[in-house]
């Protein structure tokens, strides 16, 4: 009897130990098959390239492939919806970016919450937006542009990649902080907008650094400022907007990885550790530098706080602009 009770306790203790080790063991075995990274934008675009660079680095680290799948539509929300409803085993992830912060204001019939239904893992890269003007315009510095815009409100026009997109909101923030009035001309995507700025049909635009660097370097447009707090390595002569005339102005476009809510914490932590390590490799840094984006490793609480801060920053502006969810 005494023996039975001892054996019983020993078995129970062993089971308890094994049980508590299981999630950790699962985390050790993760990933045991290919992991899918859903990208909500077309292949070849900035978000897609950022995702592919990260996927290549993680594949090398894991020995298991990280597959990038494109599911375009609804500003990246179709991919996000897929991942939000996916099995929370850590094998389906989403490449998130600022559209997760903007989405609740643009789409009313979402079947998920773009922030609460996801677990943030880490950011993967950041890049600034660049303010470019048509090359025949006389402004050489940001100060001249602001002065002229203040003197003639409504005279200048700017292009954007669509209502509620980050390029639109960046310019609106600029307008608010610099106190100028520039007319908004929306386009379907950044390239269409850039084409019209080059041709001179619109005066200026804020553009994605990846898309703009080529055009700036070849002289088709003139860059007056970058939206981050540090100068862009590919364009060292272009001042930041904060130092050139609008102190405190900061906008970064960011890419990151999120998992659906419910993925076990050990797996999330392992993913974060692997991502941070992959981002420290020489290959990743070199590839990012070629694209003009900066690696941005973060811990999970840092990333969550970052997303929170972005949401707080942009929500008042979006509401003030009257962008309604439809």
């Amino acid at each position: 009897m005494h023996l039975m009770r001892t054996v019983g306790r020993a078995v129970a203790a062993a089971a308890f130990l094994v049980g508590s080790l299981a999630p950790a063991a699962a985390a050790e075995a993760y990933p045991s098959r290919p992991v899918r990274l859903m990208v909500g934008f077309a292949a070849g675009g900035g978000a897609d390239i950022g995702g592919r660079i990260l996927a290549a680095a993680l594949t090398e680290r894991w020995g298991q492939t990280m597959v990038v799948e494109n599911r375009t539509g609804a500003g990246g929300m179709i991919a996000a919806e897929l991942v939000a409803h996916a099995a929370p085993d850590g094998y389906t992830l989403v490449a998130c970016s600022s559209n997760h912060v903007f989405a609740p204001h643009l789409y009313k019939h979402l079947t998920f919450d773009p922030i609460k239904d996801f677990e943030p893992i880490s950011a993967s890269a950041t890049l600034p937006n660049i303010l470019v003007v048509h090359k025949t315009l006389p402004y050489r510095t940001l100060g001249e542009l602001i002065a002229d815009a203040k003197a003639h409100p409504g005279k200048l026009t700017y292009g954007s990649s669509g209502i509620g997109a980050s390029l639109h909101l960046t310019m609106e923030l600029f307008k608010t902080m610099a106190g100028v009035d520039i007319v908004h001309v929306p386009y379907k995507g950044g390239s269409a907008s850039l084409a019209d700025v080059i041709a001179g049909h619109t005066d200026m635009m804020f553009g994605n650094a990846t898309e703009q660097v080529g055009a700036v370097k070849s002289g088709q447009v003139r860059a007056l400022g970058v939206s981050s707090l540090t100068r862009h390595p590919a364009l060292p002569d272009v001042p930041t907007i904060a130092e050139a005339g609008v102190p405190g102005f900061e906008v970064v476009t960011w890419y990151g990885v999120c998992a659906p809510r419910g993925v076990p914490t050990p797996i999330l932590d392992k993913l974060n550790a692997d991502m941070v390590a992959a981002m420290a490799t020489e290959t990743y840094r070199r590839r990012c530098a070629e694209q003009g984006i900066l690696p941005a490793p973060m811990s999970r609480p840092e990333y969550a706080a970052f997303i929170e801060a972005q949401s707080e920053k942009w929500t008042p502006l979006i509401k003030r602009l009257g962008i309604q969810p439809e």
């Binding site: 292949a43 070849g44 390239i49 929300m77 019939h109 041709a199 049909h201 088709q220």
Partner: protein, 515 residues
């Protein structure tokens, strides 16, 4: 200038003919051709799938392969349109109109042979244009602002509503239906979602591939279920000799080929117009210019050759703004640019000077690729025509199956497969009621562009509607549109106006005689 261009071209041929690059070019056109035959899945999906492969290849080989997929897909697209009345991709929808009747007459092989020829001619012109005329063309394209594009779209809508056979008012009705379908989605200028009823799959509008395949493929298939018109299978044992078109047919198709090619290259220039619009414009022009317009739709060679030449020339010409300015004209070009950027190459005007091997190698590979495609396709025509000897009851369901796979593969989206099927049912209903669906596609493609550019032009002009006639190019298009309407009114009402008095008197006489 021409001499330097020829020198650079010679250098390009040297690059393209290197065994390594030649192999990738061949892989690209082969894959492209195969993918082109599969309905729905187009170059966009294929290039997305092949993109990771390019990480490990040198940039020249990578871009040669991806470019090959792009124009190779156009060669395959005509096959199903002509033989099965099932357009594989939107630009080939117009080819169905005259291609399928030709097949029913037993001339499917001939049509295919002529198509390959027209494709080669169109592509060659597009390439030549790209080499020698790029700087001028780019400058002209820059002049096209929102107002010009809007007026051009208006002209296109007016001219194209004569696209369908039969009653003109039914043609107009279908165009308007196309316009209405084009409204579905997110509006560019206000961000409002229109007619999406909360479905996220519709947030970006109805998919063009779904519309083209549904209307032209599924609807026609459903329409032909109980009609079982036998295809003339006496020609199914096609010998190589039979596929060669007769001298008369060659002569008939020469000028349409030239006209189609010109239409295609014009459309390649103008931003936002792609191969689909080019094929429609070419077909409509051909119909207007022809001496027997009423026979279009019953199997006119011109109606097959012209749109195909236009499609190919437009696809080759689409590379111009991408390669010379670094600005992609559409999603596929954006993908190609992305592939270049992943390799660390920044496209733009400096691409020609910094990476001449890539630019000139690519241009030379276009020609090599097109020759390879002709060599691939001509012997295969006999095999494709043999497809027709499969009984209808196996052939069409299999085709339907491939349509569903193709649409799903295009975007990995089951919603779009559902869209295709529902649009197919709608198209079937329209066919039974005597409406032909071709103008729907036209309205769907041109309408949203018209609206987007109309509002943008007014935005840029601060509400001044005179901007459409103040800007010279736009004024020309507006004048042409007005002329078009005026001519139609004159042709229709002229007799009544001239004989107005007599008609009225005749009516009074009739009435008194009846009493």
């Amino acid at each position: 200038m021409i001499f330097t261009a020829l020198q650079d071209l010679w250098f390009g041929f040297g690059v393209a003919l290197e065994p390594h690059n030649l192999m990738w070019c061949f892989v690209g056109v082969l894959v492209g051709n195969m993918v082109g035959v599969l309905p729905g899945m187009g170059p966009l999906a294929t290039i997305s799938i092949l993109l990771p492969l390019t990480f490990g290849i040198k940039p020249v080989g990578a871009i040669l392969m991806l470019g090959g997929v792009m124009y190779g897909a156009q060669y395959g697209g005509a096959i199903c349109s002509i033989l099965l009345n099932l357009p594989c991709h939107p630009p080939h929808a117009v080819t169905c109109l005259d291609g399928y009747p030709l097949t029913k007459q037993g001339k499917g092989g001939v049509a295919l042979g002529l198509t390959v020829m027209a494709s080669f001619v169109g592509a060659s012109w597009g390439i030549t244009e790209m080499i020698f005329l790029s700087p001028i063309l780019v400058k002209v394209a820059m002049e096209f602002g929102a107002a010009e594009i809007c007026s051009l779209m208006l002209l296109g809508l007016l001219a194209g509503s004569t696209l369908a056979r039969g009653s003109p008012i039914k043609g107009v009705a279908m165009t308007v239906l196309g316009l209405l379908l084009g409204i579905v989605g997110t509006d560019v200028n206000s961000g409002v979602q229109r007619f999406t009823y909360g479905a996220m799959g519709l947030a970006d509008g109805i998919e063009l591939v779904a519309l083209a395949l549904g209307l032209f493929g599924i609807a026609e298939f459903m329409n032909s279920i109980n009609q079982s018109t036998e295809i003339n299978t006496t020609y199914s044992h096609v010998r190589l000799r039979d596929m060669r078109p007769s001298k008369a047919e060659l002569k008939r198709s020469f000028f349409p080929m030239i006209r189609g090619t010109l239409a295609g290259s014009l459309c390649a220039l103008i931003p936002g117009t792609g191969p689909t619009i080019a094929s429609f414009v070419a077909y409509a022009t051909e119909k207007k210019v022809s001496r027997t317009p009423e026979r279009f739709g019953t199997g006119m060679i011109e109606g097959v050759v012209c749109p195909e030449a236009a499609t190919h020339s437009s696809v080759q010409g689409d590379f111009i703004p991408t390669m010379s300015l670094g600005i992609p004209g559409d999603a596929v070009m954006a993908l190609l640019l992305g592939a270049l950027m992943i390799q660390g190459i920044v496209p733009g005007p400096q691409l020609i000077s910094e990476h001449p091997d890539i630019f000139w190698g690519l241009v030379a590979s276009f020609w090599i690729g097109n020759i390879l495609l002709v060599l691939l396709n001509v012997p295969l025509i006999g095999i494709w025509v043999k497809l027709l000897s499969i009984p209808y009851k196996y052939l069409y369901p299999s085709a339907l199956f491939f349509v569903c796979i193709g649409v799903y593969a295009a975007n990995n989206d089951m919603f779009q497969v559902g869209e295709t099927l529902i649009i197919g049912i709608l198209g079937y209903v329209l066919l039974r009621l005597g409406f032909h669906p071709a103008p729907i596609l036209l309205g769907f493609v041109l309408g949203p562009r018209f609206e987007e550019n109309f509002r943008r032009a007014l935005l840029l002009a601060r509400g001044d509607i005179g901007t459409f006639v103040e800007r010279p190019i736009s004024a020309v298009f507006v004048a042409l549109s007005v002329l078009l309407i005026a001519v139609q009114i004159y042709v229709r009402l002229g007799p009544y106006l001239r004989n107005g008095m007599k008609t009225k008197a005749a009516r009074i006489a009739e009435r008194s005689a009846a009493e």
